[in-house]
């Protein structure tokens, strides 16, 4: 078990000592390999706070998080020998807004910044920058450009490349596709899916897009008011009755499928995660 949450609670402290409970009693296991998880929920439901616990940026105020065998808890916080940096190399977290991390003169240097912090040699870091810029869908001419003259989508890709270059075991992405055009979004999602499939790495994506959830995710976590209310497969999630109460939209594919079933009076068997699946299944049902 790579990341293990044990009854984790997190309270944001106000200046008067008034607390706001962002996470409550969360128990959760994430494997080192083979998982493709989406984390969904309304804004303010604690998704980002949960994600920031995954690489020890935040220390739980209650309970414990074990990350690659390192125990993170309130009691252990004072321990000076506790090294958090190695954890952050193993669990790469991409923030929602790239503006918070881009600072170097060139895109290349910025991507190489992370690996260099973790003791990767200059040359190797540059190699990785070259490799990663291609992976996120930009070409090498970007490496010498200033990160501040890029468009929003390009900045986003550069910030993702910066984390990928650290070669983390687990990749956590906070709304990686917000602010991208539909084509770019799909391309980037494919990249994450490939990383997951080819390198057998665990990927956790925070998203509001139910289509992403339905098409790619093997596992969905639903957050609501600081609680983890669902942890399981996406196909079962949307057939639950109380899904409406969680303010979640139904994925397009599922809407189309239900409409076709109703209009044609047929029942389609099995899972239909994407367009091709659905077409094939409709064909079968009509035969």
């Amino acid at each position: 078990m790579a990341i293990k949450f044990e009854r984790v609670g997190y309270e944001y402290q106000d200046i008067d000592g008034k607390g706001y409970l962002a996470l409550a009693d969360i128990t959760l296991n994430i494997n080192k390999t083979g998982e493709f998880i989406t984390l969904i929920g309304e804004t303010g439901s604690g998704k980002s706070t949960l994600a920031q616990h995954m690489n020890a940026l935040l220390t739980p105020t209650e309970g414990r998080v074990h990350i690659f065998g390192v125990k993170i808890s309130r009691e252990g916080k004072k321990d000076k020998n506790l090294k958090l940096n190695p954890i952050r190399q193993k669990v790469g977290l991409v923030f929602q807004f790239p503006e918070y991390q881009l600072f170097e003169e060139t895109v290349g240097n910025d991507i190489a910044f992370g690996p260099k912090n973790f003791g990767v040699s200059e040359k190797e870091a540059e190699e990785r920058a070259k490799k990663m810029i291609n992976i996120v869908g930009l070409d090498e001419s970007y490496l010498s450009r200033s990160p501040f003259n890029l468009s929003g989508g390009e900045k986003k890709r550069v910030s993702i490349a910066g984390i990928l270059a650290m070669e983390p075991d687990i990749l956590v992405l906070d709304e990686p596709t917000s602010g991208l055009d539909p084509l770019g979004r799909n391309a980037l999602l494919k990249v994450f899916y490939e990383i997951h499939q080819k390198l057998d790495k665990t990927v956790v994506i925070i998203t509001h897009d139910m289509n992403t959830v339905y098409e790619y995710a093997k596992r969905v976590l639903v957050m609501r008011e600081g609680n983890l209310v669902y942890d399981g497969a996406p196909t079962q999630l949307f057939s639950r009755k109380n899904v409406k109460n969680w303010n979640l939209d139904v994925p397009d594919i599922l809407k189309v499928r239900r409409a076709i079933e109703e209009k044609l009076g047929i029942t389609i068997e099995g899972e239909t995660r994407n367009k091709a699946d659905l077409m094939a299944k409709i064909g079968e049902a009509l035969r």
């Binding site: 200046i15 008067d16 958090l84 952050r88 923030f95 807004f97 503006e99 918070y100 991390q101 910044f113």
Partner: protein
């Protein structure tokens, strides 16, 4: 970082909240001038007491203001020490002979190293530092054997001590008063109040409205920028920047990785703000109507009279004494 309260409005309900911002601004200036003019030790303590009681009656948590003062503790402490060491006027009130011997220097260095090694484990850092300083002086005073290099004396002068005290209390009073103002006044009210108070400057062709707007926007954005700084630190920490540790060379990179995004974000924010203001037809210098109109209440007159009385009292006592 989140503990910095300067410039943050906190909703509440007390007479300080219902006062007119103009009153609060003028009273702040008058009381600050008064605090600067106070010369007697007793008056200074009374002033400090009065300001503290203002906090209590105004239902502002003292803890909150103390938390706001804490980041400035170092500055206060530094000015205090500086005054004591370098102001050598008046009578000597404390003389401490010191002996610089090989043994005492060695012992002092040992104390300093011990402090440096253990300071991270101690909760009350400032107090611990003070104890260490006292310990070093004690070492130089009591260890008079070993190989003697030189003798010296540590002197504290009356003037030095009193100046140090006055500067410190004055700073505390000023910070407390201005914190009261910003905690109890909404930025929009503060803006309006400032504009009205500065209005007479319009005669000499100074655009008071713009100045008021600039000041209030600056105040408004302090907490926002602090939040942003916090987020940037988290984002950089996940790329392996360890803000807690590192050598000097690493520190430079750490600070750059924080400051550059900070700069970019501030410019972006101000650009967005300018656009948002223009989109709502804000034209500098044009007369605008207000949603909230300021009303002068009896409470304001009382507050005004009280603050001017305080100032008069201080001036009179200065002249007479």
């Amino acid at each position: 970082m989140k503990n910095i309260v300067i410039g943050r409005y906190v909703p509440g309900n007390s007479f300080l909240y219902s006062m007119d911002p103009r009153t609060k601004l003028i009273a702040l200036i008058v009381l600050m001038v008064a605090a600067f003019l106070i010369q007697s030790f007793a008056h200074m303590l009374v002033a400090l007491l009065l300001v503290t009681s203002l906090l209590i009656f105004g239902k502002i948590s003292v803890k909150r203001v103390y938390l706001g003062l804490r980041p400035l503790m170092f500055l206060l402490f530094f000015t205090f020490i500086f005054q004591i060491l370098f102001n050598q006027e008046g009578d000597e009130i404390f003389v401490l002979p010191l002996h610089y011997t090989a043994l005492s220097i060695f012992a002092a260095v040992a104390v300093a190293v011990f402090w440096f090694a253990t300071k991270k484990r101690v909760r009350f850092k400032l107090l611990y530092f003070l104890i260490t300083v006292v310990a070093i002086f004690a070492v130089f005073h009591f260890i008079d054997f070993g190989f003697l290099f030189a003798r010296g004396t540590f002197r504290v002068f009356e003037e030095g001590l009193s100046t140090a005290f006055f500067i410190m209390v004055r700073l505390i009073i000023i910070i407390m008063l201005s914190t009261i103002l910003t905690i109890t006044t909404k930025p929009t009210d503060l803006n309006l109040g400032l504009e009205r108070v500065l209005k007479p400057l319009g005669i000499v062709r100074i655009n008071t409205e713009e100045i008021a707007m600039i000041i209030s926007i600056a105040l408004r954005y302090i907490p926002t920028l602090l939040d942003e700084a916090n987020k940037i630190m988290l984002a950089q920490a996940s790329r392996g920047v360890d803000f807690q540790e590192g050598k000097l060379k690493d520190k430079v990179v750490q600070i750059i990785s924080l400051l550059v995004p900070m700069f970019i974000i501030s410019f972006q924010r101000s650009d967005d703000l300018a656009n948002a203001m223009e989109a709502r037809s804000f034209v500098p210098g044009q007369p605008r109507t207000r949603l909230h109109v300021l009303t002068w209440k009896r409470l304001d007159t009382v507050a005004m009279v009280v603050s001017f009385l305080a100032l008069t009292f201080v001036i009179v006592s200065r002249v007479v004494l």
